[in-house]
Symmetry: C2
Subunit: 456 residues, 2 copies
């Protein structure tokens, strides 16, 4: 904390007063332009309402690619190209069901709010019906592993509400979604259900990616809404409970997807470039509005605003709509693979993939010197919301590029209290995004990119 | 900006390392307690869904008073009392209507989204029908004053989207809501409609208080939703437009209302007290969830958390649910009047009346020395969201107390990008409030009050 304040003080060693005045004026023009002429909200409406959920491999994803190409051209990119990459093609395959069929000696029919986890394989036709082994965590399963055989294991590991940053709770619970199925299968479980990775007050089920360990049977895996998870867990403490699970997930052959890359060519150092992006794919349950429609339309907004203001960057800029973050990371990997083969050099990468909420700053992974430089810009960005530059950040899609080239990476850090309430659910829709919050995110991103272009 | 950073540096002159550690530990306990045991969200549900909108003088307001008394007792106040004050009793009286009846030569029936302004008097029975004089602002009306006679004047002054803090736009447009009717009446207008005080993307009409200048006829006054305001303004530029306005507002005799005051008695300085509050009344159009149900339940939450943790303040504390902010300010005035007659002395006041969104800090009106002291606590509060202490703030309800006693006053400063989208509309409902955001506001308020109690 002292460090942060210390660096904020170093403004003056880095920028002259005249530079500050010029930058401040430009940033105000940029902000005014985005707030009065910005297209991000309109574009988000198109992406979410005309296309909707767009998992890699789906027809909607291809519609989104063509849409992205069109709107980046319209926004004024010097060139736009599609960068092909093979993507997994998982399909949900039907309407997931989880129904409690027996509680103690009593036959019942209680439907639960459920969604199959992404990349999971469906139940045998007609579903499975089995007793539930409800456990709090992996440790409890380990202690009760002899009870797991033939059962549906239910991991009810909750978000810790005392973490002020909800992302920390998401990080802690993620292992149950990713690995829960194989860990349960190891002990003979026939299916797994998890408590959704959220701390919300509603009952929406949250999907998200899982993976199988090939050493164990690939059992079906699904997530329950929190209210139903609480009920199921309580019932399981009092009596034997039988659950019927029916899911349809399966893979079609890998198919071609595309990163959409819009380019502004640099005036002084065209062979060095800055990458800005978000991911174009989204889960199928909602409209992918915050995750990551917001990042997509903010990326395009920066391009549009720079062109509208006649700003010609020194370095080239890549505005990238990445192909496949959610269930494969193939877009980010392919972008980095191609970049590694080319002579042009990336110097900085920025991603927005934490929702379209009011920006509070950035998380930046880089060395101390660059971090100090970036933090010295806080006073320039603070009028638009950047109060804080944290020392770690970036984004999944830019990760492979950043790791290959060892370049500084930042991620937009919006207010995130609501993010995991709607993340990967049917509630991640256009209506959950506020126009001004979305635009302010774009302004802070554009401001950071402008300063990087000028002073890196 | 430099000043802010400068003061943040002064932490160490003010607090010893041992004090910091003690405070930090207490604040963590406080936050954990609120995030795991907090009642604010449940109480907000009661206030909004069991009672709902609660304008001063209404039966709902009296229900809210009795509810407030009960829940403050349950939260553990040493004593709770009702402080009577006379309040205005304005009633909407019916369903407001604004219908375009003629456009050019064509008879039409186009209903607009409308709400009568609070404290405005209704149209004569059957409504009024008149030509619309659409103007951008007072200057245009002044220039066209000869056209106003017999017309409905329409002030279409918009929120300036380039202000990053929407409250600034609200401040700038407020004069049209408050004074527009009498300024139009001065030139012979028979009614006034204004563009709602908002920058939202929807068409909800925003009510709010207005006042008449007794020198001019008291003409009906209403606000239009933004989409309809845009349309009406555009049509008026192209052709004569006739509007039918029908409103029913009127005053019943002033009636008795109450401030609800919960007290924690100080252990060392019981005759000095800290006042914390929000306002219990709300407009009738919605449920008064953000404005100001949030402030009410946060106030009660602080009391509950202090009691739950066994914290005994040095100074006494008043937790005040003020009676009548929206259309009369009688609650805050009466509280200050009574305080001025008593020998006990207030030392600090805090209000939450800017919505239940994620806290970003406080605005504090006080002298340089006290401001420096308060800013020195930022590092202690920052883990819970307080990044910034601005140099101006407070609240309408605590205003009279603060002005009389010249005491430091702070107002919770939540993220406010969404606030004026829903402010005074039917959209200000429980569902618009996020549980964690609400609780985090209470945590930061409680933390500030704890530090004031300890170090003032």
């Amino acid at each position: 904390m002292r460090k942060k304040i210390f660096f904020a003080f170093l403004l003056f060693p880095f920028l002259t007063r005249a530079q500050q005045a010029t930058d401040s004026t430009f940033l105000k023009q940029l902000a005014d332009n985005v707030l009065t002429q910005g297209q991000a909200y309109t574009l988000l409406h198109q992406l979410t309402k005309q296309i909707g959920g767009r998992l890699a491999g789906s027809p909607q994803f291809m519609q989104a690619v063509l849409w992205g190409e069109k709107v980046m051209k319209a926004a004024g990119a010097d060139s736009v190209y599609l960068q092909p990459c093979m993507v997994p093609h998982w399909v949900r395959g039907g309407k997931d069901k989880a129904v409690i069929t027996q509680m103690g000696n009593r036959k019942v029919q209680k439907s639960l709010s459920v969604t199959a986890l992404g990349n999971s394989l469906g139940t045998p036709k007609g579903g499975i019906t089995a007793s539930v082994l409800a456990v709090k965590n992996f440790e409890e399963l380990e202690a009760r592993k002899n009870e797991a055989k033939g059962k549906i294991v239910f991991f009810n590991y909750p978000f810790n509400p005392t973490y002020i940053v909800p992302g920390r709770a998401y990080g802690e619970t993620g292992v149950y979604r990713r690995n829960g199925a194989s860990i349960a299968a190891k002990y003979g479980a026939v299916g797994v259900v998890i408590r959704s990775l959220s701390g919300s007050t509603d009952n929406n089920a949250h999907t998200g990616v899982m993976a199988y360990n090939d050493s164990f049977p690939k059992i079906p895996a699904a997530a329950l809404g929190l209210i139903d998870a609480d009920s199921l867990y309580a019932w399981c403490q009092r009596m034997p409970v039988q659950l019927h699970l029916e899911t349809y997930g399966h893979f079609l052959p890998d198919t071609v997807g595309y990163n959409v890359v819009g380019v502004l060519r640099g005036t002084e150092l065209p062979h060095q470039y800055i990458t800005v992006g978000g991911h174009l794919d989204s889960w199928d349950e909602g409209e992918g509005a915050h995750d990551d429609g917001a990042g997509i339309v903010q990326t395009i907004e920066i391009l549009r605003a720079f062109k509208a203001l006649g700003y010609r960057p020194k370095h080239s800029m890549h505005f990238v709509l990445f192909a496949n973050e959610e269930n494969g990371m193939r877009g980010g990997n392919e972008y980095a693979r191609v970049a590694a083969q080319q002579s042009d050099e990336p110097i900085f990468a920025l991603e927005s993939d934490e929702g379209g909420f009011t920006p509070r700053g950035f998380g930046c992974s880089t060395n101390a010197e660059k971090l100090a430089l970036i933090r010295s810009w806080i006073p320039l960005l603070q009028p638009y919301g950047t109060d804080v530059i944290n020392a770690n950040g970036g984004g999944a899609d830019i990760g492979p590029l950043v790791r290959h080239f060892h370049i500084p990476a930042c991620g937009l850090m919006p207010d995130n209290q609501r993010y995991f309430d709607i993340h990967h659910t049917k509630a991640d829709v256009f209506e959950a995004v506020n126009k001004r919050e979305l635009l302010l995110g774009a302004i802070n991103m554009a401001g950071l990119v402008y300063l990087v272009d000028k002073y890196f």
